[in-house]
Structures are given as structure tokens and as C-alpha cells.
């Protein structure tokens, strides 16, 4: 047992990490699918889209042959419409409520159609938006993730000069560094950022971290307003003995490595335990398996009914051959020569409902032990509590608090995305970015 890289030949790795939702191969396919949509009025699919894309309209535009119009419809509601078409958990959003579900028929492949139009727009570099003349106002946006990019784009369209500060080397946020490699490629993420910023008026400054190279005080002095879209940080610690042994990794860092280097260089164990059952946990488990881990076991403290991931995400792990232990919670990690050897877990049972309304897991007193050589912790991410506290921004456990106008307790400082909601989806962050921009414009009197 060991944690090693290069478990599989290059070609296998490439195949395993290729697009899990491939696009339409032919225009006809898109046309057939588009014509299947009955163009509902006050469509349920649109209601479930956090950015409220007019889905019946963009699909109608595909069927009428107005692909450019279709792309504009999508992007005017969701500037990351291309990325969202690849990463949105549509089974619990638009596609989950498509009226075809009520006929027990396959819902319209909304995301695939959205990808069809947006991909054409990006590949052909269609210029779908024009900036208004400069207003002379300047806004600093911190964090070039989905929230920051959406905010910057919306502001720039209205003639604001935007400076986008990003601590990493590349823009895109978790889209670039967090989302599973079989959903988006680094090239796509770069193209998407370039496409968004090609509208002009957005100066992207990478390797500029708030709290290091820049401070909030300074930003407030130099800019008319500030938007914070800094997301959340690494996984919260397990808080159990043995957590510093070699082989215990945080899911976000593990995936960050996959997204920033060659698959052949990523080391993974033989027997991997993944703690958690959320989307990050699923991505960590499936990507471990695809890197060649022999056994991947996902451990969750509640039962299958309470799992936070969707059935579609769960199936992804199931079909990748991961195993699952329900009602189990890590108690202690045992090692040998400083390396992980065993994971001791408490057996849990379900008690009364907790604050989330779900039945709370309770320790039974029984334990069991798993032989493992790698443990990936995916029990939820930690907000940047220190940074936020140091900037005197009102927060709850590090999650920034905002009012209905997306403004923090500091005048002229707005926030949105994971930094506020603690971690949802890309599409929610985009909507927050739009809302933040709107609030800033009204704050600036534009």
C-alpha cells in the first residue's frame, strides 16, 4: 500500500478524465432536441434557474436557427452560461422540473442545448455585448471566481472601470481550481474568462491577494465601491487524532492539484477513504478512482436519505465503483512511521431532527476500523474567517453578512457568492455577482 502517481497509462487517464457530458456531435441533434421543447409559458425550468435564463426563448432561438440570439439570451442572464452548461447540477435545477418529467419522459437536455449555443459563441468570438461609454467611476472586485467575474462584467457594461484582483495565478475561481476535471478543462476555463473580459473595461490583476498585497482600506480609498467575491477556503479540519499523518489530505487541495498539473503526476493511495457525501466529496472520490486507486470508500455520518449530493452525483461515484459506508463518523486515524494506516470510525444512528431539519447522527458507542493509506477530507469548506474579521466585516463564522442590497456593514463594500452563502453552486455565485453589480450601480447613482 502506498500513495503513488502514474497508476494508469496516459491514454486511460485521458479517457477517464474526458468530458462526462459530451456536446451534440451534429447540428441536427441540437435542432431535434430544441424542437422537442414545447416552449412553456412562465416555464418551470426558468423558475429553477438561479440566474433566470429565459430557457424557452433560447431553445426556440436554436430551433429557428438564430444561434447568435440564443447565445445572447443565455449570456445576458448568465455570463458564465458556457461554464454553467457543463457544471450545473441540472438534475436539481432546470432539467429536474422540465414538464417532460411529469410525462415520465426524458427532460429536455437544457444544459446540452445551452452548451451548443454558448460554445458556438465562444468559438466564433461573437461580440454580443457593447459597453456603454465610460462613467469615470471605478470599482474594485476582489476574487475572480464566478461571483467576481459576473459582477465585473455587469459593471463594465454600464461604463464602470473595473479592476479585478485575484490571489491565484489564473482567474476563474473554483471553476479553474475546484471543479472536477471531467467537467471542465483548464483551456476552457481560460477561454471562458477571456471571453467574459473581452468586453473591455476589466483590468484583471492576478497574484494580488487581499490582506497581503492589497488592503480593504486602500481599496476603499482608491475606488468608488468594492465587491468581495473571495469564495471560501480549504476543508474544515476533522478535529480528530492523527490528522497530521502523511496521507491525510484536504479535498480542495487534492482537486486543486489535479486541476493545475498533469494527471500522471497526481499521487493517490491504494485504499482511499473519503469523508463526506457532498459534491466535493463525490468529486474527490470519483477522481481518486479515475486516477487508479483500487478501493475508494466514502464515509458519511448520516444515512443515504440525508445525503447532500444529488442522485445523479451519487450515481457517478457508484458507477465509478466507489463503496459507501453510511452512519459512520471518523474517530481516530492511526499511522505507522508517520503514514496513515487505519481509520477508526464511530458507528452512528439517527436521532431527532437538528437545526437543518434532518435527523441528527448520534454516536452508538460501537466502532469499526478500516485499513487505508489515504484519507481525503471533504467535510465542507472553511470561510476566510481571519481575513474577514481583520477587515472588520460583519460575519457569521466567517460567512460575510450582507443586507438585501448586497452591502456589508462597511459602506460601499458589497459581497456575494460562496463568501456569503458558505458554498453553493457556480450559478448562484453568478446571480450574486449580478445582484452585487446592480446594487453597486444604484449606490453609485447610475
Amino acid at each position: 500500500m502506498a500513495i503513488v502517481n502514474n497508476r494508469l497509462p496516459k491514454e486511460d487517464l485521458e479517457a477517464l478524465f474526458s468530458d462526462i457530458h459530451p456536446p451534440f456531435e451534429h447540428d441536427e441533434g441540437a435542432a431535434i432536441e430544441a424542437n422537442r421543447c414545447i416552449n412553456c409559458f412562465d416555464a418551470p425550468c426558468t423558475k429553477l434557474c438561479p440566474t433566470k435564463i429565459d430557457i424557452p426563448l433560447f431553445i426556440k432561438q436554436i430551433s429557428s436557427g438564430n444561434i447568435k440570439g440564443s447565445a445572447r439570451t443565455i449570456f445576458s442572464s448568465n455570463i458564465m452560461g458556457a461554464g454553467c452548461s457543463k457544471v450545473c447540477p441540472v438534475e436539481k435545477l432546470c432539467e429536474g422540473v422540465c414538464v417532460y418529467n411529469l410525462l415520465k419522459e426524458e427532460p429536455i437536455h437544457i444544459a446540452k442545448l445551452q452548451r451548443y449555443s454558448t460554445e458556438k459563441a465562444m468559438n466564433n468570438k461573437w461580440r454580443l455585448f457593447e459597453r456603454k461609454a465610460s462613467t469615470g467611476k471605478k470599482v474594485a472586485v476582489v476574487g475572480a471566481g464566478p461571483a467576481g467575474l459576473a459582477c465585473a462584467h455587469a459593471l463594465s457594461l454600464q461604463g464602470i472601470e473595473v479592476t479585478l484582483f485575484e490571489k491565484e495565478e489564473k482567474a476563474g475561481g473554483l471553476m479553474t481550481y475546484g471543479i472536477a476535471a471531467y467537467k471542465v478543462t483548464p483551456e476552457f476555463c481560460k477561454e471562458e474568462v477571456d471571453y467574459i473580459t473581452s468586453v473591455g473595461g476589466i483590468d484583471v490583476q492576478v497574484k494580488k491577494e487581499l490582506g497581503r498585497e492589497i488592503t480593504l482600506t486602500e481599496l476603499r480609498q482608491k475606488y468608488d465601491a468594492v465587491f468581495l467575491g473571495i469564495g471560501v477556503g480549504i476543508a474544515r479540519s476533522l478535529g480528530i487524532p492523527g490528522e497530521d499523518l502523511e496521507g491525510v489530505v484536504d479535498a480542495i487541495s487534492f482537486i486543486y492539484n489535479i486541476r493545475t498539473s498533469d494527471y500522471s503526476k497526481i499521487a493517490v493511495g491504494d485504499k482511499v477513504a473519503v469523508i463526506g457525501m457532498g459534491m466535493t466529496a463525490i468529486d474527490a472520490a470519483t477522481q481518486s478512482k479515475r486516477l487508479g486507486a483500487a478501493d475508494v470508500t466514502m464515509i458519511y455520518r448520516r444515512s443515504e436519505n440525508e445525503k447532500p449530493c444529488t442522485d445523479a452525483q451519487f450515481d457517478l461515484a457508484r458507477y465509478d465503483g466507489c463503496s459507501f459506508i453510511w452512519l459512520a463518523s471518523p474517530k481516530e486515524i492511526k499511522g505507522e512511521n508517520g503514514k496513515v494506516k487505519k481509520l477508526v470510525c464511530n458507528k452512528m444512528k439517527l436521532g431527532g431532527p437538528d437545526s437543518s431539519g434532518r435527523r441528527a447522527p448520534v454516536i452508538t458507542g460501537e466502532t469499526f476500523t478500516l485499513e487505508v493509506d489515504m484519507i481525503i477530507n471533504a467535510t465542507g469548506q472553511m470561510p476566510f474567517e481571519e481575513l474577514i474579521n481583520n477587515s472588520s466585516i460583519r460575519n457569521r463564522n466567517g460567512k460575510i453578512l450582507i443586507n438585501e442590497a448586497f452591502e456589508t456593514n462597511i459602506p460601499g463594500v458589497f459581497a456575494g457568492g460562496d463568501a456569503v452563502n458558505g458554498g453553493k453552486e457556480v450559478v448562484n455565485a453568478v446571480q450574486d455577482g449580478k445582484n452585487g453589480a446592480k446594487a453597486i450601480l444604484s449606490y453609485l447613482g447610475i
Binding site: 414545447i38 409559458f41 412562465d42 414538464v99 411529469l102
Partner: protein, 422 residues
């Protein structure tokens, strides 16, 4: 099993389906394949003075991703030598003596030409002749085809010439490019035509290439009005044959129904409105001769279910059910009803009624599904919601008479009854 055998003007065929004059019937190879597939008869591609066709020739109308709602062509009559056609007709008849062989004719506009052509055609032993008075393009410019079919006087004269020498049944094929087919139909019958067939194609432009701005079909940068046919023309054809079935002067003359027949249901509708047999062109051009199997089988099953033994049992049964608007019962009133169990909350009924009908559907916002209900008091029973609803049987129209007695518009006016006040 019902009996599909047909006798039209005494011309026998194992089923009532003939191939209409056109590309499917323009040579021996096609017709043999058609007969092998089971077609009851053919009307051979129109013969006359040999012509030359252009390329391209066809175009079509697509609708909502569905290809070929309508089809159009700028072909002329047969472009093959007359003698070769006649020879092949003889050969085919020898191989398939039980099938109907009718020859479509269009001679130059003089008595001698018609006499010669009729004689040559009937010398083959064919069972009947069809006079093509309907071709809307190409031949018109030469004073033939639809020009003849649009003028009762000319039509009558030509039919008379034909009847002077015809020894076999003569069917006159009418053009729909007229306000009414009755005057021409009447004239042809007076002149002795044994039967009528309709419709030929309708003058049309199916569309324009939006890159080149050239209408379809493009013949070296220009186009020409083409003859429209296929599914889109069925409603027009049904209307025209009904007018003949309703008119005292034409109702006793057998009608061969043509225009947009693609399924057995279409065929049954033509018969119910007075057709004695059927002709099909576009549907086989799009799907091949094999469609005959379901045409026959579907009609057969329907006849069995209805208890009809032969086609004659239901010819024209729906004709009396088409009347003048003034005769309709104003007291008959229906209202829409939504079956909430079947409803998929698409809102299509609502927006149709709200925007363009009578604001008779209420919307109760829900997340993610709205609930829609009919406001019975407001509903005028127009059927629009039922037509747009994607779920079969979800919206039904319920009868709620406004009065017990039959009341038509004339009577309504006579009694000075009130009109709508909003």
C-alpha cells in the same frame, strides 16, 4: 376482414389506392416496383408533346423542425418519348393485368392533337384516361394544363373533343388554382367526362434562400412558381372535393381524391367527403412505395372496427355533416375543462387564451408549477386551448347548451336576440 377491392368507373383494382400521375408513374421500372409493393393502380405520368425539364425541380416547406410539411415542384409532363411510354405501358399491363392502368394526357390545344393522343393511349389497352387540366406551371404558358382547367368554356370544348373518340372511361383532373372547382367540373361533366379527379398542385413559393435571396427551387439563380402538394394541401383538397359532392350538378359523378394523402386516415377522410378512390404522389416520393402496406392495413382495421364491408359503405358519409355557417346551431355551447391529473403545467393553454382568445383561463402562481383553471363563464368554447395543449385528453370540451332548441343565425336575428356586450 373488410374488402378493399375497388371499382372506379368500372376500372377494377385490388385496393382503392392509385399512384397519381407524376414521377412515381413515369416509367416501367417505377410502376413495376409499385405494383410489386401492392399499389392498386397507376395514373401514368402525363403524356403529350415531349418536353425538357430543368434542374433543380423540387423544394419543400419545413415546420418546427419537422421536414416537408409541404412539397413543391416545377416539373412538366413526361420528358420521355411518347412511343417509349406507350410501349412500357403495354408491357406493365401484361405483367400486372389485375391492376388499374390509367393514362394521363395533355395534348396541344387543338382537336386533332387530342384525337391522336387519345387514340394512341387507348390502343395500349389501358383502362382509362385522365385529362390533365391542372398543371400550374410550364404548361400554362403554353396554353395547356391549368389554363384549360380555369376556364369552363375551354375545358368543355376539350372534353368534347376527347369524348368524340374515347372508348374507355375518361377522368378529368381539375386544378385547385381557381375560386371554385364547381363551374369547371360542371362543364366537364356536361361535355361527357365520366369522372373527375382533384386536386392537382397549387401555385406556390415555398421559401427563399436567405443567403442568396433566391427563391426555391433555385434554377441557376432564378426560380418559378411551383406546384404545391403534400400534407399541407390536404385541407384545401378536402374542401374542393366536398364542394363537388354538395353540388346538385356534380354530386353524382365519381371523384378520385388527390392531395396530401399520406396515411390511411387521410384516405378515409377523402372517402367520407365523397371520393370513390384515392391517388397519392408526394407521400411515395418521400417514403417509397412501401407505404401502401399501412395505407391498406390501417383502412382495413378501421373498416372492421366500424363494420364497413366495402369502400362503398362509407363514401360521402360526412358530406351532409358539412353545412353552411348560417345553418349551425347557435344554442350549442361548449366550455373547456382541464383534467388536473393529466396537466403538466406548461401554461400553453393559458397564454394562448390570455393573449389571443377570451382571457378565460386563470393562473395561480406556484413554484415551480402554476395551476391553470378554466373560467367557465368567460369561455366561448373556441377549442384553442385544447389545440395547443401538449397532453392528449387533458383538455376536453364539455357541452353546456345555451338553450334546448336548435337555433340558427337567421332565426337568432329574426327574434332580435342580444349580441355580446363586451
Amino acid at each position: 376482414m373488410a374488402n378493399l377491392q375497388s371499382s372506379f368507373l368500372g376500372i377494377k383494382s385490388p385496393n382503392p389506392f392509385w399512384l397519381a400521375s407524376g414521377p412515381p408513374t413515369d416509367k416501367k421500372i417505377n410502376v413495376l416496383r409499385a405494383f410489386e409493393a401492392g399499389w392498386g393502380g397507376v395514373v401514368w405520368k402525363t403524356l403529350g408533346t415531349q418536353i425538357k425539364n430543368v434542374s433543380s425541380r423540387y423544394s419543400s416547406l419545413n415546420f418546427n423542425g419537422k421536414k416537408i410539411a409541404g412539397f413543391n415542384n416545377i416539373e412538366l409532363i413526361s420528358d420521355r418519348p411518347l412511343e417509349l411510354n406507350l410501349q412500357e405501358i403495354r408491357e406493365v399491363m401484361k405483367l400486372f393485368p389485375d391492376r388499374a392502368m390509367v393514362i394521363s394526357l395533355m395534348a396541344d390545344n387543338d382537336r386533332k392533337s387530342w384525337h391522336e393522343l387519345v387514340k394512341k393511349a387507348q390502343d395500349t389497352g389501358a383502362h382509362g384516361l385522365e385529362l390533365n387540366f391542372g398543371c400550374p406551371h410550364g404548361m400554362v404558358e403554353r396554353g395547356m394544363g391549368a389554363t384549360v382547367g380555369q376556364d369552363p368554356e375551354i375545358a368543355k370544348m376539350i372534353v368534347e373533343w376527347v369524348m368524340e373518340v374515347a372508348e374507355i372511361p375518361v377522368i378529368t383532373k381539375l386544378t385547385p388554382n381557381v375560386h371554385s372547382v364547381v363551374p369547371v367540373g360542371k362543364a366537364c361533366i356536361e361535355a361527357g367526362s365520366n369522372g373527375l379527379s382533384l386536386i392537382n398542385t397549387i401555385q406556390s413559393v415555398t421559401g427563399i434562400d436567405l443567403d442568396t435571396l433566391i427563391p426555391n427551387p433555385n434554377v441557376g439563380g432564378k426560380s418559378s412558381f411551383g406546384g404545391y402538394c403534400g400534407p399541407a394541401v390536404k385541407p384545401i383538397a378536402l374542401k374542393f372535393i366536398t364542394t363537388l359532392a354538395q353540388d346538385e350538378a356534380t354530386c353524382r359523378t365519381p371523384i378520385s381524391g388527390i392531395g396530401g394523402i399520406a396515411t390511411w386516415k387521410d384516405a378515409v377522410e377523402f372517402i367520407l367527403l365523397g371520393a370513390g378512390n384515392l391517388q397519392v404522389c408526394t407521400a411515395v416520393m418521400l417514403n417509397g412505395f412501401r407505404i401502401i402496406r399501412d395505407l391498406c392495413d390501417g383502412m382495413n382495421n378501421w373498416m372492421d372496427e366500424k363494420g364497413y364491408q366495402t369502400i362503398n359503405d362509407f363514401i360521402g358519409l360526412s358530406v351532409p355533416k358539412l353545412t353552411r355557417w348560417e345553418e349551425l346551431d347557435i344554442n350549442y355551447h361548449i366550455v373547456a375543462q382541464i383534467n388536473q391529473e393529466k396537466c403538466i403545467h406548461c401554461g400553453l393553454c393559458y397564454i394562448a387564451c390570455e393573449d389571443t382568445s377570451h382571457q378565460s383561463i386563470s393562473k395561480e402562481d406556484g413554484y415551480p408549477y402554476n395551476t391553470y383553471n378554466i373560467k367557465e363563464i368567460e369561455c366561448v368554447g373556441c377549442n384553442l386551448c385544447k389545440i395547443v395543449c401538449p397532453v392528449d385528453g387533458c383538455i376536453t370540451m364539455i357541452e353546456q347548451r345555451k338553450g334546448d332548441e336548435y337555433l340558427n343565425w337567421k332565426e337568432f336575428q329574426k327574434r332580435g336576440l342580444p349580441l355580446n356586450d363586451h
